[in-house]
Every structure is written in C-alpha cells, then in structure tokens.
Symmetry: C2
C-alpha cells in the first residue's frame, strides 16, 4: 500500500500530484453513469441529502457541453431540495488559480463531477490548489460525487481507455493514468454491464492485483463511507473484482497480442444494500432502503 | 450430480430426453460464434482435423437460413480438406424419423451444428432416434462441434434467453431449458465478451451453482476431450464461472426485480492453450499451438 508522504508544503498532496486525505470525514459517491434524473432519482437524491443543506457544487470540467450539463443538474438538484447549487467550470488549466473557484467551494457540502473525459479533469485540476480545496471539502466531512468519468477519476489510478465488448489482451488497449487519489486501492470502471467491460477491468486488475476492480452499472452507485465501507445503491449492480489470490496470469509475457489469462479471480456482485469492506476485503449482504 | 439411468430401451437416453454418453470416445468443440471463415480458420481447421478424413455432417437445424449456412460451411470445410461434407437438415420434428438422416450419419467423423436458435435444435431432435445416433457418433470417437446456438445446445441445461449488457435480476429474464446432454455439469454462453453476457451467465449459475458457467468469446472455442479436459482455442477467451463456493446469493428472495447479489464467485479466464479440468475444477496454463 502506498502511503501518502505529504507534500512539501505540508498539504495532503502525494507524489502523483493527487490530493489524498488519509482520514476523510466525508463520503464518496461513485456513479456508473446514466443515473435517473426524471423518476425516483434515488442516487441524486442521496447526493443532495448528503450535502445536508450546504451548497452543492457541480463541476463540469470533464465535458465539452458543460453548459448543458450544468443546466440539467442545476434543475434536478434544485428539484430535489438543494437550495444553493453552484457551477465550477474550468476550460483551461490556468483558470484553476482564479480565486473565485476557491470561493465557490467555500462551505460546500458536496462537489459533484459530471461525466465526460476523465483526463480533462485531471489535466486541469491535478496538483492545483483547487484540487487541494476539493480534497479539503472531503476531509472536513463533505461528499465528493461523480458520474461516469467523474466517478473513475476519484481513485489513485484511473482507467482512461480500453475497448469494452472484447477479450482483454496481454498488451491490450487498457490505458491507465493517475487519478485524483481520493480513494486508494481501487480502480473504477463505469457503464459496466451496459458496455460489457469485464475484460477491460480484468485487464486493468491484472496489471497490479493490489488494486480491487470496482465495476459500476448505469443508474447505480458505490458509496464509500469514511470507514471505507462501500455500499451499493440504485437499480444495477456493483462488481468487485479481487485479484489478490490470482494463481496465474500471462500479463508479463512478451507476445502482446495474446489474450489475457487470469486464474482464480474472486468476483462479488453487490446489489442495492449490499456492502463491501475495503479494509477487510469482504462483502456483506443487506437490504435496499 | 445427476447420473444417467439409461432409457427403457437400453439406450443412453436420460429422463430429460437428451442423449448422454457417460464415457464418450470423442470430443466436443463448443464455439462462441463468428468463427473465422476466411483467414487462418483455426477453429474450423480443428473441426476438420478431428473428423480425420471421415464425413463431416453440417446440421443446420437451428437456422431459418439453412441453405445459406450449408453453402458457406460446405465451401469452408472442403477448402480445409474435408472430402465428404454432408447436410443434415430437418424442418419439422417428424422428419427426424426418416431413414436418410441416419444414413447420413453413418461413419461420420464430425457433426457440426450451425448457429440459430437452440430451441429449434432440441425441439426437433430431443428424444429422437436421430439424437441417439448423433450421440453414438460421439460415443464411438467422433467429434460433435457447434457454434453459437450449436454450442449452447450441448449441455444438460442450456441458456435460451436473457438480455446481455444489463445487471441480472433475482427473477430475471434468464431462461433455461434441457439441452442435448452431451456434457454434464456445465452451462454454456456464447458471444460472451461481445454481447456483455457476464450478468446473464452469473444469473444462470446462481440458479444452481453445481453447474459451472462457461462463457465463450467469438472466434473462440472450448474443446472438451474425452477425459473432460476443456481447452481454449482461438482469438478470444473462455471464461469459467465457478459458483460452488458462493457464500451468499439473494436469488431465492421473493422480490423478483431486485438485482442479483453473488458473493465469492471464482472466475478463470482462459486464453488459447490454457485448459480447465472439469473433474478437478482447476485451470492449467498452456501455450497456443
């Protein structure tokens, strides 16, 4: 396990440029994309509820249609009772230094990252004071939520590419990059069942089975509490791919176009109410609320 | 494990109407669909090679475009060196009694089932003398091969429906039916990575974890030898879903629309050359040929 050394400035920044709170006071809500915005809206309702009356900040950094997403999420969050909804949008990295963004985060109960391209988030935010400020919201008990790209960006290492609906290859197209580092020891993939991403997540886990693969279906969330208990919420499933007891993989082989072999992967499928303890590595059954 | 009691007529027919040889002399070649027919044709080459100069019988029972499939497979099998390629086609069940079909099977080295609808195969063949004759080819050392529907039909119980690319439900749309019964203790699903069928196969396995789920990618085959060693062949992967050590599932619950939970599934991903011993339940790594 990589421990945070702390940045030279005494912040929680680690060597990867991510901001990693070792003892967060808040929760993470990782959403697999396409969460319901018209019906029960169970997941977005959870997001608003966790903001507990404090401002909800919608961060559209990942998207090229930031305005449209902002309009949509502002409407939904207000309909669900959020009184103070704010828009965090940065088109270019140098804007991250502007004081107004730090002001927007002031007192925030939740920062919500929309979907889009996760690299747009990390390339604009990574290593900035704004990233530290978002981390501080989390450390002080606020919730950091994100859907699709906004979910995958939260881990130490994130998936940034790799085809779904095909067999993983030894030197496959699975591409990874450092994420925001808000949660350690997991790798997140979204739209999981809908885009047939088992092969891609297995490929990522094979690279280093220290990390648990967490696949999240659409309209489904993995909520990670401060005690590192992960709970499933929504209408789909959360898949935990545990490769720590792998007995064999051929990923170290030279022939890159060979299909990936993996023996003895442990797989847990969590439905709403089930949880998984990231510390003990064990699932627990539960009832949906 | 369900043991065959033998039919009243002393045949190998079991109670489900399938024909199940307890000690086959031949092999099964289960293909996940869309096997290469223009390039290396590794899988179809294997099929022809296993016929060892004896007739190859192409059974198009599953398809509504039987004529087209026959034309295509006859061409490919002949190009790969099969001298005697024969067409077995039955449109209605009562045709299964016609003597000419038994004659076609005479001396066959391989029976190859094309894709289509697996229920078209079992509803026409199940419990017939023709099914017994196909079983006899297998028992005497011939190969029974099948692609897509033609692969899934070979097990005791076969998958006949259930959406891919979504989370499995407790009372989900996974539908099963008795298959030809040529191989026991497994359930086969095809087009596995390409159609995102993990949820569907997990749903099927949860019904009775005695059966191993075998998911086969396109242009990939699981070859099952007489000693019940299963070997992967082709350009994709074969997934073995072992639920025998499941610690929890909610499949017995009353609320049918709950998403399925499964804890402690064991998953093996086999690439070309890897094998899995259906007797010991263990994978073994190997090299592609």
């Amino acid at each position: 396990m990589v421990e945070s050394k702390g940045g030279a400035d005494g912040s929680d920044r680690d060597a990867s440029g991510g901001a990693r709170p070792e003892r967060p006071g808040g929760a993470l809500v990782l959403i697999g994309g396409h969460e319901d915005k018209e019906g029960e809206r169970e997941i977005l309702r959870e997001v608003v509820s966790r903001a507990a009356g404090r401002p909800v900040v919608v961060a559209t950094l990942a998207s090229e249609v930031a305005g449209e997403l902002w309009d949509e999420y502002e409407r939904v969050f207000r309909a669900l009772g959020a009184g103070d909804v704010r828009h965090l949008d940065i088109v270019q990295r140098d804007q991250a230094r502007e004081a107004r963004w730090l002001e927007i985060l002031d007192g925030a109960g939740c920062v919500f990252f929309t979907g889009g391209d996760q690299l747009k988030i990390t390339s604009k935010l990574g290593g900035s004071r704004l990233a530290d400020a978002i981390c501080a919201v989390y450390r002080r008990g606020g919730t950091i939520a994100g859907t699709s790209a906004g979910a995958s960006v939260m881990s130490e290492t994130m998936l940034v590419g790799g085809a779904g609906e095909e067999s993983a290859k030894v030197r496959g197209a699975v591409r990874m990059a450092p994420g925001l580092g808000l949660v350690r020891d997991i790798l997140v993939d979204q739209h999981f069942a809908q885009r047939g991403r088992l092969g891609r997540l297995l490929g990522a886990v094979a690279h280093n089975p220290r990390l648990l693969g967490v696949g999240i279906d659409e309209d489904t969330a993995a909520v990670i509490e401060p005690d590192r208990r992960l709970r499933a919420l929504g209408t789909g499933a959360v898949y935990v791919v545990d490769g720590r007891k792998l007995s064999h993989t051929n990923i170290g082989e030279e022939e890159g176009d060979r299909v990936l072999s993996l023996f003895d992967v442990r797989l847990h499928v969590l439905s709403a109410g089930d949880s998984f303890d990231l510390e003990t590595g064990r699932p627990m059954s539960g009832q949906p609320r």
